[in-house]
């Protein structure tokens, strides 16, 4: 069952064509690994799937009403002047806070929960940002280079989590130059039609 379909999409910016004629779908219970060299438009394609950017041609359709998307890109969307715990409180309403906090513990962030987030390492900040994905029961998960900056243990944790969610019916699309470690369909962008 298709959750999001992309129909013949092209993207041009400042008169440079990034890609054209792409058609694919994000399906229930399947994972899509978007691959391509630097500058091939992977992040742009992600933003188009999210509905943030509009394709120059073609269209994206959300096949179900009220589709819940969760996303993590290059930016962490956390406030550097707050503590990790305060960030968590901002992101998750009371009902989901306990679940988020249990992931917080699993990721070994308890020790730094009252530090200012700006003082955390790159990897720790990324782990905090990941909780948005881990503690969210969304229909579609979209990730842009999720494994970068994580230690091996956390990478395995994330890969296990994603595998589990996909098997339970979520749809996943990700870009990653690091192999995800589980089965994915591949979509390769190489400066033209896929």
């Amino acid at each position: 069952m298709q959750l999001i379909t992309a129909n013949n999409i092209s993207y041009t910016i400042n008169d440079q064509k990034l890609f054209h004629g792409l058609s694919f779908s994000l399906d229930h219970g399947s994972a899509l690994h978007i691959q391509g060299g630097n500058g091939s438009g992977k992040s742009t394609l992600i933003r188009i799937l999210l509905g943030i950017s509009t394709p120059t041609k073609g269209e994206i359709k959300y096949m179900q009403p009220n589709l819940v998307l969760s996303y993590l890109g290059h930016q962490n969307a956390i406030k550097s002047y707050l503590t990790p715990l305060e960030n968590l409180e901002l992101i998750f309403p009371k009902a989901q806070f306990d679940n988020a906090y249990s992931w917080f513990k699993k990721l070994n962030l308890i020790g730094v929960q009252d530090e200012t987030t700006a003082n955390l390492s790159f990897g720790q900040q990324k782990k905090l940002a990941l909780i948005r994905i881990l503690a969210n029961d969304s229909d579609v998960i979209i990730l842009d280079e999720p494994f970068v900056g994580l230690d091996q243990a956390t990478r395995d944790l994330l890969a296990e989590y994603l595998k589990l969610r996909v098997s339970k019916g979520a749809s996943l699309a990700l870009t990653s130059h690091i192999e995800p470690g589980f089965n994915c369909h591949a979509l390769v962008l190489n400066g033209g039609a896929a």
């Binding site: 910016i13 400042n14 008169d15 440079q16």
Partner: protein, 243 residues
């Protein structure tokens, strides 16, 4: 038929081709009319009973003031077309219109100051019309600066259109409020002789000057927009094979 004409006209390629043919005519007509109006007004129209010969600056000042505001109206129409119907040509035209608009508003202010010296004894006066025109000048500069600040040109176009539309809503507010404010600060001396009291022998050269200046400004706008469009569309095939 009208919609197909608009569609055809609004393709940048047709605009550039059409203006290539029309521009020489528009420009030469405009210059001819403007020079006629000016020579007529400067040399042949009679002296003003009150102001003597110094009133003759109106042949520059009045057309300039009229177009300072008319161009903003034109920009707003383009902005609406750009934001609502995503007409690309409209977005291209706004930038050129803003440059021409800024220029003519400056000329209006400058010529108004020159007129002020013999009439008021001062080159500046904080009255309603001058202040509104000065604010209009700043608005043009704001639009130009905004567009120039963004490297993603499609984004720059949209932001510029949003600002122009917001500014349009602001113009009547500015006029009303500056008018209201200036009732407190009465200009010390004579106000300019208004249109109803102007003599026909001065009115006709004025009309001719207005018409002439309009065409000249349109030509300037066309010149500027053609350059702009060719630059923006430079990767398209029709530009690369353009003579």
């Amino acid at each position: 038929m009208l919609t197909s004409f608009i569609h055809k006209f609004s393709a940048p390629k047709s605009y550039v081709e059409m203006t290539a043919k029309l521009l020489p005519y528009i420009a030469s007509c405009g210059l001819l009319l403007l020079l006629t109006g000016w020579v007529w007004g400067l040399a042949f129209a009679p002296e003003d009973a009150v102001q003597g010969n110094s009133y003759r600056i109106i042949f520059l000042h009045v057309p300039a003031s009229i177009f300072a505001q008319a161009i903003y109206l034109f920009m707003s129409i383009c902005a609406v077309m750009s934001v609502v119907w995503r007409v690309k040509l409209a977005a291209y035209l706004i930038k050129s219109a803003a440059s021409v608009g800024a220029l003519i508003t400056f000329i209006a202010l400058f010529s108004g100051s020159i007129w002020g010296i013999p009439t008021w004894g001062t080159w500046w006066q904080w009255d309603a019309r001058i202040t509104s025109t000065l604010i209009l000048f700043i608005m043009y500069l704001g639009v130009i600066t905004l567009h120039g600040s963004f490297s993603n040109l499609e984004k720059a176009d949209r932001l510029m259109s949003i600002l122009v539309i917001v500014g349009l809503v602001n113009i009547p507010i500015i006029k009303k409020s500056v008018d209201w404010w200036s009732t407190l600060h009465q200009p010390a001396s004579i106000t300019v002789s208004g249109a109803p009291t102007i003599d026909p022998s001065m009115l006709y050269p004025l009309f001719v000057s207005i018409l002439g200046m309009g065409l000249v400004l349109i030509s300037l706008g066309i010149l500027s927009s053609r350059l702009h469009i060719l630059g923006r569309e430079k990767n398209k095939k029709w530009v690369q094979s353009y003579e």
